[in-house]
Symmetry: C2
């Protein structure tokens, strides 16, 4: 089959399944998710055998240890995938939810009802668990998952997709609820990205290079965030222990993730009071600090910050630190250097909290809480299919609700327009 | 100024105003809208003088009478624009609305708050009233309106934009809440459509050719509908008078609009009972009917329908008619030939109504109501900036709410991730 024929065939299957998927009852979808969870555990040995092929190929290609670690499956990780599907089964079904209903003066009753988007293309890299996670979220929200994983995980992904499709089918759900793209070259992605007639949304999950390439090539709307340059702002009225706890937790609880803090902004009133202690706590956790002159006056062991540092996503135990004169200056800094991901203010003053919440329009804006909560699971969405820092369709961590849109519905009684 | 410099300058002004606009208090925005309404009426003579230049140029160019009619302003139309701005001032401000708030087990209080999208580019053709309508909706929702009108209305639009900007400025709102593009060539549009770094959304308003060109060129998300092939389905259990009233109203109340019905689907059980009367009523209103063989058996004066007719947006007193055997067949027809705009079922049976509402995923789906209600004003959105038949960001008639997105907010009490 030529590549053109393959793309046409994949898209045709996805489109054909899409109509039926949007009409499935919740109990049918939930039973299929539970069946798929069991099937993953039952097929564990087979999946691990395929995963070993990927690991062997990865070692032969000289993949770095962290890449191999992301690629690796074991019994526990397969069970975690299965449990993820069980959790999605337990979430409420967004499809058909009437979010609001109101009456017009002429008696027309108008409302909005959630419906699936249709076909979701997800392009991802090494982690094979994405295959199960995304397939589950898409099925629950009535969408077809058109999945294209990375070449380094191809054996694992094909095995997982086969198990999931078989389970869906045995539970009365079209197996094409999951359509897996069996080729891993770039050309097939570029061809799929032209099919805005049949694919409703693209979610690239991976490094900034992957995301930029998808955004540039795609005619289909893209849910994306390039990076997370998240800020913690310690306001003049911050409670000292809370300031230190949130700065440390936001930075070091896990450093390699997009919602980890990269820059600490500190009100000048704190420079000679709590700032040395806060920076001491960070340093005690092994954080390398890059500070402005006032920061270094308060904490001489900090390195000198460079302008570029303020827009750097460190993803490491490194943090930029700047002393600011006011909330205004903190907000200006965030607007200039931030990435619309997540910012938090630490303050005991309700006016400052309110102003920060109102004026900072990043996708997640917190008061007295760690930036690490900017995550679908932590915010209570149940799970997360991606994070959007583009203000269209969805903004912030995106779960089942973000995989739907809303149609207008109306009930009349023979109502006509005069 | 070169075109590149002009685009850079327009975008720079829009971006600079955008931050301030999102922070304006509701009372400031409303006062500016009321000031602008008065200013339009006060400047009426000047606006009409500029409009006469456009009309003279249009006549010299040989513009068709309907085009000249759309272009023409008079005292009444200027007052209608002013009243439109007063109505927008009376609508609730969507910015800052917290749509939902919930608690997490760890005490974190999470919610979603509406914020403006940023900068909205609207590309439109001959009607100068769009200038005032869109500027009003954008200001109320905290967005900058970057407006590019058609060449045939350039004098009218420049005069309107100057009056609106002056009024905004005198009421304490940045005059760049409205940035008007003073050139009308295609190249400037193409250049603007590349600026996804600074423009958040594009809304093309005009014919299908304009919309297709914008969608193909744009790197910025586009709110669009190409056409409205809307359906009225008369179910087996339709009440006869209601069936006739809704078919007639949907078709003839105004034929040139996207929410007018283009195809009538009729359950076979009605072919020999009420169908002749319904078609007779349409014919009495001057509608030319293109029917399937069973339609023509019931109403011999109907012409024979061609396959292409089913996907035609007539925008005229013409209607395709097809007899179907079941609700399933009606839904299949709508999915195959429809345009995701608006469909309505006429039925007294609650099961059929429920099934139609649940399974038809067009952007507006009605029961026992005319398709003509698929309009922002009629549905109670207050006004409408456009209609989307793409399932992303917004689906259906789009008012103030559609011009916003939602950020996540959270209040903790020093809450950190364990």
């Amino acid at each position: 089959m030529s590549q053109t024929e393959l793309v046409a065939e994949l898209v045709r299957r996805a489109s054909a399944a899409s109509g039926r998927l949007g009409e499935l009852r919740t109990d049918v979808k939930d039973a299929a998710l539970l069946r798929a969870a069991d099937a993953l555990e039952e097929a564990c040995e087979r999946i691990l055998a395929e995963n070993r092929k990927d690991l062997d190929a990865g070692r032969a290609k000289g993949l770095a240890a962290p890449m191999l670690e992301r690629l690796k499956l074991d019994r526990e990780r397969v069970s975690a995938m299965a449990d993820g599907l069980r959790e999605v089964a337990a979430l409420p079904d967004p499809v058909g939810e009437i979010t609001r209903m109101w009456n017009r003066p002429n008696g027309l009753q108008v409302g909005r009802m959630r419906i699936p988007l249709g076909v979701i293309l997800v392009i991802y890299e090494s982690r094979p668990n994405v295959t199960a996670d995304v397939a589950g979220l898409c099925l629950k929200s009535g969408n077809v998952a058109l999945l294209r994983g990375g070449s380094e995980a191809i054996h694992s992904n094909l095995a997982l997709a086969a198990v999931l499709r078989g389970a869906f089918s045995s539970a009365g759900v079209p197996e094409d609820a999951l359509v897996f793209v069996p080729q891993t070259d770039r050309e097939i992605v570029d061809a799929l990205l032209q099919r805005d007639d049949a694919i409703d949304l693209v979610i690239p999950r991976g490094g900034e290079a992957l995301i930029r390439r998808v955004a540039e090539q795609s005619r289909i709307p893209v849910i994306k965030h390039y990076k997370g340059v998240c800020h913690v702002y310690l306001d003049e009225f911050a409670e000292p222990k809370m300031a230190s706890d949130i700065a440390v937790n936001s930075k070091v609880q896990r450093v390699s993730v997009c919602n980890a803090a990269e820059t600490l902004l500190v009100h000048a009133a704190l420079a000679e009071t709590i700032l040395p202690d806060v920076l001491g706590a960070l340093a005690a956790h092994g954080v390398e600090l890059h500070g402005c002159p006032r920061t270094r006056a308060a904490f001489p062991s900090a390195l000198a910050v460079k302008e570029d540092d303020y827009s750097t996503e460190w993803l490491a135990k490194t943090m930029s630190v700047r002393v600011v004169d006011s909330l205004d200056q903190a907000i200006d800094h965030i607007r200039r250097y931030g990435s619309n991901h997540t910012e938090t203010i630490v303050t005991q003053d309700v006016g400052r909290a309110r102003e920060f919440l109102r004026r900072v329009n990043s996708s997640s804006v917190f008061v007295n809480a760690s930036t690490r909560f900017a995550d679908g699971f932590q915010l209570g969405l149940g799970a997360e299919v991606g994070v959007s820092t583009t203000k269209m369709h969805w903004y912030g961590p995106m779960g089942l609700e973000g995989l739907t849109t809303q149609k207008f519905i109306a009930f009349g009684e023979g109502t006509i327009l005069e």
